[in-house]
Symmetry: C2
Subunit: 505 residues, 2 copies
């Protein structure tokens, strides 16, 4: 956004309020401020705050107290950062320009399709912070209720790539992988990156934080090494080690996605078209040429049937093809959590156990990592077709994957030990029998209520798997929490939610 101070308009003195509201820019003005009166501004209207060359659109609240003097405007941290100002600097506050792209949102709400230009204008305004929560939610809901079609998905993907940074690698083949979530604890990525890089592939993995799950790959990896890398560090890690596991958000690869994610989290939805645009925009912007997508299928996973998985993979391939991206989808078992931990630190410990070939390491996590790595090795040309599994296993067994992982962590800023939660409480079997069903959605909910991912040591540690025999009073899982409030909240839910783990006599 370009900004100009209008000579005929009055200036206000900016005050830093040290108000934390995530990425929300907030301006606080006196209700009797002359600017509010001359501009006709009322509480909760959107305003444009201009300072020097910078501007930010903010939500206005008004205050009737001596907290603010006449001629002052107080700003939240997000607004402060966007304006690059110091306390007492002069700013202007006025009506924001008319939000033209909203006409596209309205047409979409009424069932009309959007073209490349519409979507580009929408995504641009989203990234410029001009959309309110109401607008963002309307866009995401309208494109879920009447799902994005193939062309819209391509246009949205392109628009999301175009507003962000793009990475370019000096390599003909750059591999990447993505797992369509919904399966708690499925943390194969750090293992796959280690195996791929140990076999000479370039795999600059940028991962996201959790959307609606208790942990994203970036949240888990952060327990083992810094993931908030700047571009220069990321490049150095990949050039030296061939691979990395970094948080994509700090790369600004798909800044619109980071905004959409917050709304999707609040609604707890994650729809097909948005999912495709989100995944592919990040892969394309990250400079990938060959991508493996793991789609777990299960009644309580994100994809619930083979039919849905086939449809999703066809759409993913079609969209990828439009961008010249080679894409392979693999379907996997999504009937129960992977590994034992659910939550950043608990999952990180599972990853370490597999990489270190610990005797008690979760076998299912290891097998999944081998499957995904095999597809990556074959697609990327580091193993012949049919040889991927053998190569992947050998890389783990020999300790080469663990060595590579340690080097990657060191390059990212240092390997570290995952935290442990202060409070741990069991959920026990109320009767004996066999474990016949595990509800992934309720498990995720439980881990989230316990505080994951915001409290990284929080989550759930599974003590049983499908088919296990249990006795009455035997722990089925342990809830880990970092505060008593969150523990109480999670246990309340566990009591009310019905069978999270169903045991039949």
């Amino acid at each position: 956004m370009s900004a100009v101070i209008w000579p005929e308009q009055p200036l206000l003195r900016a005050t830093r309020l040290r108000l934390h509201a995530q990425d929300q820019a907030i301006a606080l003005m006196r209700a009797d401020c002359h600017v509010c009166r001359s501009e006709g501004l009322s509480p909760r209207s959107q305003v444009l705050v201009v300072a020097g060359k910078h501007e930010v659109q903010a939500l206005l609240y008004q205050i009737d107290s001596p907290l603010l003097e006449q001629g002052q405007v107080a700003l939240s941290e997000a607004a402060w950062d966007a304006l690059h100002i110091s306390d007492g600097d002069e700013v202007q506050v006025r009506h924001p320009p008319v939000l033209e792209s909203l006409a596209g949102i309205r047409r979409r709400i009424h069932g009309y399709r959007l073209n490349a230009q519409d979507l580009s204008a929408i995504v641009r305004d989203v990234v410029d912070g001009r959309y309110t929560d109401v607008h963002l939610s309307a866009f995401l809901t309208a494109t879920a209720t009447l799902p994005l079609d193939a062309l819209e998905t391509v246009h949205l993907t392109r628009a999301m790539v175009d507003v962000g940074e793009s990475l370019h690698w000096n390599a003909p083949v750059v591999v990447d992988k993505h797992c369509v979530g919904g399966l708690p604890g499925n943390r194969t990525t750090p293992i796959v990156v280690a195996i791929a890089a140990a076999n000479g592939l370039v795999m600059p993995k940028t991962s996201s934080r959790a959307i609606t799950s208790p942990a994203g790959t970036a949240d888990t990896m952060e327990m083992l090494a810094p993931v908030d890398l700047d571009m220069a560090t990321l490049r150095k890690v990949v050039e030296t080690e061939g691979g990395c596991v970094a948080w994509g958000g700090s790369m600004h690869l798909s800044p619109a996605d980071d905004i959409f994610v917050r709304i999707e989290r609040e609604l707890d939805i994650d729809t097909e078209g948005q999912l495709i645009a989100s995944v592919l925009s990040k892969k394309i912007a990250a400079g990938a040429t060959h991508v493996v997508i793991d789609i777990p299928i299960g009644p309580t996973a994100k994809v619930r049937s083979r039919e849905n998985a086939v449809r999703l993979s066809a759409k993913l391939r079609a969209t990828a093809a439009d961008f010249g991206l080679a894409l392979r989808c693999m379907f996997s078992d999504g009937n129960q959590p992977v590994g034992r931990g659910i939550g950043p630190a608990l999952e990180a410990r599972d990853v370490l156990a597999v990489l270190q070939n610990e005797p008690g390491a979760p076998e299912d996590l290891r097998e999944r990592a081998v499957l995904v790595a095999s597809a990556v090795l074959e697609l990327g040309g580091a193993a012949a077709e049919g040889e991927g599994m053998r190569v992947a296993r050998e890389t783990l067994d020999s300790g080469r994957a663990w060595d590579k992982f340690k080097r990657i962590c060191e390059a990212q800023g240092g390997l570290r030990e995952p935290k442990r939660a202060e409070f741990v409480e069991p959920l026990v079997a109320t009767h004996g029998g066999q474990v016949v069903h595990i509800d992934n959605r309720k498990l995720s909910r439980l881990a989230k209520l316990a505080g994951a991912p915001a409290s990284p040591a929080a989550g759930v540690h599974m003590e049983v798997r499908l088919g296990d025999e249990v006795a009455r009073g035997q722990p089925l899982l342990y809830v880990h929490a970092q505060t008593p409030g969150e523990m109480a909240y999670a246990l309340d839910y566990a009591r009310q939610a019905g069978d999270i783990i169903r045991v039949e006599a």
Copy 2:
């Protein structure tokens, strides 16, 4: 919502921030507050604030400054009012209970229909202030993109009636009217009420403020008399005079609608199912038995074709029948604004001119009022079929309507003179010719940018009608504004918007 202070939880001292954020409840806490830490609360999360018997769900912001002491929580005016507390009173802040009705919103987003129970739970949570803007926008968007079906519309209407107050009148016939908006300046209601009441009908009219238009009937009537009446005053006005024109919001007849309206205004949408539920829930709650609906049709009116009007009226009648409501729809010309004023005060002056039989009174507004009043008189049994027009005209011509209107205004708190704007600027014809098209949507936009309805004297005064011959430089309309900022904003728009009034040589 019932509320309990939990004995084991710490208390905080409430501080009134005198922060104005419309109906938004906001809580401000120190980032290092022990409650934030023990409950795992982060900025922009939803919290439950409990004080004595009252509670309110609020949006949390955190602050890092000496503005707040340890152990304090600062609250916005909406939160303060909901809690009925005094400065320094003790409150508790904790996680709100899980929002179960959101599962219905998610199902609806994914294309499933909602039943009576789902909609009742959603509307209850909306009215209890438990929905964020993101949730509200998702509900309204999902039910617009996949429009509410007949059954959902009935369920939603019922749910909206059930959460509010209902009026009951000691009369077998209670008439009401509604105009499906979209036609600037179409302010027949005060005139129709005066005619109906002068002919012995009971017409306790509760009107809304503007949703997406520059003025609602309540905004216009407020220029002539108080409209924010309590229930006792309203009853007394109707018992004495037979009719009233009051603001429905203060009656709490359909409190959910007032919340939906704010979101619809922000999105600038107003869809069929929501429109039916909004209109009928208010009529049913207001105790009406016979309702006339005026549907203006025109290319830039809300309803753009006769086909759409027929469909809408069929849906209105079907939904009304479910509630035992007699309903008659009438279609009218929606090709151009009605009267000369657009905006609360400017429209109020048109209403006065018609009621007072002024020689220059806008003929089109008079004729429309006569048409609607005729339908009301016939449906309500105060005129034989075919006699309505004659009776309505006679009531106006004789001055009986004006006498009744004065008495109604006096009963509501006193007749008053509409304000005049401080700043008036013409929009002139850039060439001579005939007026061939008037864009109602752009006109409304212009009046809104000038400040209507928040600035009640602001708006547009039309100088021409379709078919008029104009010379180059002749004013087509005047923009009225109460501040220079709004005038500049409106004139900017007028310059950029293309033909608001098209003149062809």
